[in-house]
């Protein structure tokens, strides 16, 4: 018996040759390389599937096609510049990356309790908006991958509303670098609160439309019910957190169990389902969006005037931004202050911008509940002005390990649904 004869390798070459070989041989297994460039693999994910007819008997995942060395790069920039890098990791949850990183730096600096209240409220508000945006993309791409483009266009349309708010507040739709060690880069611009209120008014209706389209849709149910089942022990063994573990029946949410940024002061529920399948994950995500809306509303009520950056001249980024004729830049008031008003302010500005601040030696691990699960940031300092090592424990990276458990034994069409329900973002997986 020759082992090499009982499968056909379809990882490359001419498709006609593969078909011919498949027809001419007695081999029953087909190894297909899905991705790294495939419209339904969420970016550059590579799936190596062994198929026996329509059944997927083995599913292996290849990653690394989007590795950009962000963690290594961080070691050559100041602590503040780090936000600019981490925001690009999981590019659909930039504000979670920034918050996790900043909380870790703040923990090392020992200033966690001195972060201004207003900055924390803004952080929470942005994170919850980001959670909705991320879930909308999860729904949208999921629909597209199943061939339902209405879900895709609807999802991206609703997300655009949130991105408009981000653009108004941070200046950018993605890659904000808005949350900084010590607070946030600048205060909310005029009109931001009104814009968020507008969104709060409009969004419940939009979510309802999406639910109406999907909740009881027989086609959607057929593609998602009892598909890619993963039970709670499986989730625990594979280190799965976030909507996936909540869809398997465990109400585990770091916002409740290890509150950060003042989450203990907000009233919200943790949606749980015990379906353990793709549909349950969808329901959990939809319910989470509704909870996020509640939190955002409470944030607006909690917004009190005050500083948004720590009042410590040795740490707080000094520059204030203002909109000039050539775009956003240093405010003329601040320039006047440091150039002709205060020598100390000039020194602080110069030192912070060129060298950055020193962070006491040691290591800290901070985890936040990102839209996808436990997003951990492990920051190590050697006492210098640059990180010694920063590592992100990205939920997508951990969750992709579950592909084999979810897909093997199912049909090849369910592989698409399984991967989409994990909602991996390769920017976060590969970093």
């Amino acid at each position: 018996m020759t082992v090499t004869e009982d499968y056909i390798d379809a990882s490359g070459g001419d498709w006609d040759d593969v078909v011919e070989k498949a027809q001419g041989s007695s081999a029953e297994r087909l190894v297909v390389n899905m991705g790294p460039q495939h419209p339904s693999t969420h970016g550059v994910l590579r799936l190596i599937l062994t198929l026996d007819g329509e059944t997927c008997t083995e599913a292996r995942v290849g990653i690394g096609y989007l590795h950009t060395g962000i963690e290594k790069n961080l070691e050559y920039r100041t602590w503040t510049q780090g936000t600019t890098f981490v925001t690009r990791m999981d590019y659909l949850t930039p504000l979670f990356n920034e918050t996790a990183y900043c909380l870790a730096v703040e923990k090392l600096l020992g200033i966690t309790d001195r972060i201004p209240e207003r900055a924390s409220v803004i952080r929470v508000m942005l994170m919850e908006l980001n959670r909705m945006a991320s879930h909308f993309v999860a729904m949208a791409t999921f629909g597209m991958e199943l061939g339902a483009t209405t879900i895709m266009t609807n999802g991206f349309r609703e997300r655009e509303m949130i991105l408009d708010v981000f653009e108004l507040i941070t200046g950018l739709r993605m890659n904000h670098a808005f949350i900084r060690p010590g607070g946030v880069a600048q205060d909310l611009p005029p009109g931001a609160v009104g814009k968020v209120r507008e969104l709060l008014k409009e969004m419940p209706e939009r979510i309802k439309i999406m639910r109406k389209l999907l909740d009881e849709n027989p086609l959607y149910l057929a593609r998602t019910k009892d598909v890619a089942y993963l039970n709670l022990p499986g989730c625990m063994a594979l280190g799965i957190t976030g909507p996936l573990v909540r869809a398997s029946g465990l109400a585990w949410d770091l916002r409740k169990s290890k509150p950060y940024c003042g989450y203990e002061n907000y009233e919200f529920d943790v949606p749980v389902s015990d379906g353990g399948d793709v549909y349950a994950r969808y329901r959990v995500r939809m319910a989470e969006m509704e909870e996020s809306l509640k939190i955002v509303e409470q944030c607006l009520d909690k917004l009190e005037p005050g500083p948004v950056m720590i009042e410590d001249a040795k740490i707080g980024w000094p520059a204030k931004l203002a909109l000039g004729p050539d775009g956003l830049g240093n405010s003329p008031d601040h320039i006047a202050h440091i150039m002709s008003g205060s020598m100390e302010a000039l020194i602080h500005h110069f030192k912070l911008v060129t060298e950055g601040f020193r962070v006491p030696a040691g290591q800290a691990y901070v985890a936040v509940e990102s839209a996808k699960g436990e997003l951990g940031c492990h920051a190590v300092s050697d006492g210098g002005t640059r990180p010694y090592r920063v590592h992100f424990r990205d939920p997508s990276f951990t969750h992709l390990q579950a592909v084999a458990a979810m897909c093997e034994g199912g049909t090849v069409a369910d592989v698409i649904a399984a991967v989409a329900s994990i909602d991996p973002v390769m920017g976060g997986v590969d970093r």
């Binding site: 690394g64 050559y76 594979l238 280190g239 950055g356 190590v380 090592r389 424990r393 951990t398 390990q401």
Partner: protein, 248 residues
């Protein structure tokens, strides 16, 4: 009560000035001179300055600081872990305990890591169901323990979080794999191998995960250069990031 505790702590052997001084002088030299100048001569007159790495921190009991709510369960965890290891007659697995920044770190010998992981997961008093993976860190100037493997464990039952850290020398970069206890560590260990060259013994398939299979070297080690080319901007040349001036 607290005075007594403070006196005990101050008089503990590792906290006596003489002992501390000797430890400090024995610590490896991290750098010499001031300002980290390496390309130009040091004209500051501080060329003889030697900055040593800090000696390892030994925290002593109690680990729980009544003023810091983050440390509330540290004494309980340490007691339970000690009891569980004593029952297995493996009490010497934990070399030292470090409490810093509201986090507790158990520094363990690598030989007993797998056994320790099993205890952490299965002991009813501990129940660390979730491991959030392993993180490699490279400390080239810690002779004999250059490579560190850092694990974070999370207990959902007790809502508790601990860190376990183990080391291995560059010359023998082996750490036992804990994939058999925490399957989630599969990819995390592959990542630590890929970027740091830590060999996780008994891992089911320790291959590179991010870098191409035929890549040379382990990119996140400190002796691996970042690389890059000088960039010209408005007539001036900006050197690549790893050659720019470094403030130490």
């Amino acid at each position: 009560m607290s005075n007594e505790y403070e006196r005990d702590r101050d008089e503990a052997a590792e906290n006596l000035p003489d002992q501390r001084g000797r430890e400090r002088l024995a610590a490896p030299i991290k750098r010499t001179g001031m300002f980290g100048a390496s390309t130009t001569g040091d004209t500051s007159g501080f060329g003889g300055l030697r900055v040593r790495g800090s000696a390892p921190v030994h925290s002593s009991r109690p680990f729980t600081d009544p003023d810091d709510p983050r440390t509330a369960d540290f004494d309980r965890v340490a007691d339970d872990l000690e009891a569980a290891l004593n029952a297995l007659e493996r009490a010497d697995e934990v070399e030292r305990v470090e409490v810093a920044f509201g986090e507790i770190t158990f520094h363990v010998r690598r030989e007993g890591l797998l056994e320790l992981a099993r205890v952490l997961r299965d002991d009813p008093a501990l129940r660390y169901e979730l491991c959030t993976g392993v993180i490699g860190v490279h400390y080239p100037d810690q002779a004999g323990r250059e490579l560190h493997a850092v694990y974070h464990f999370r207990s959902i039952t007790h809502n508790s979080e601990i860190r376990v850290e183990t080391t291995c020398p560059d010359a023998d970069p082996h750490v036992p794999s804990i994939v058999s206890v925490y399957p989630t560590n599969d990819w995390h260990e592959r990542e630590a191998w890929d970027f740091f060259g830590i060999v996780f013994d008994d891992h089911p398939s320790l291959t590179r995960i991010q870098m191409p299979d035929d890549w040379d070297g382990h990119p996140q080690r400190k002796d691996y250069p970042l690389g890059g080319v000088p960039v010209e901007y408005r007539g001036a040349t900006v050197p690549p990031p790893d050659e720019r001036r470094d403030y130490k």
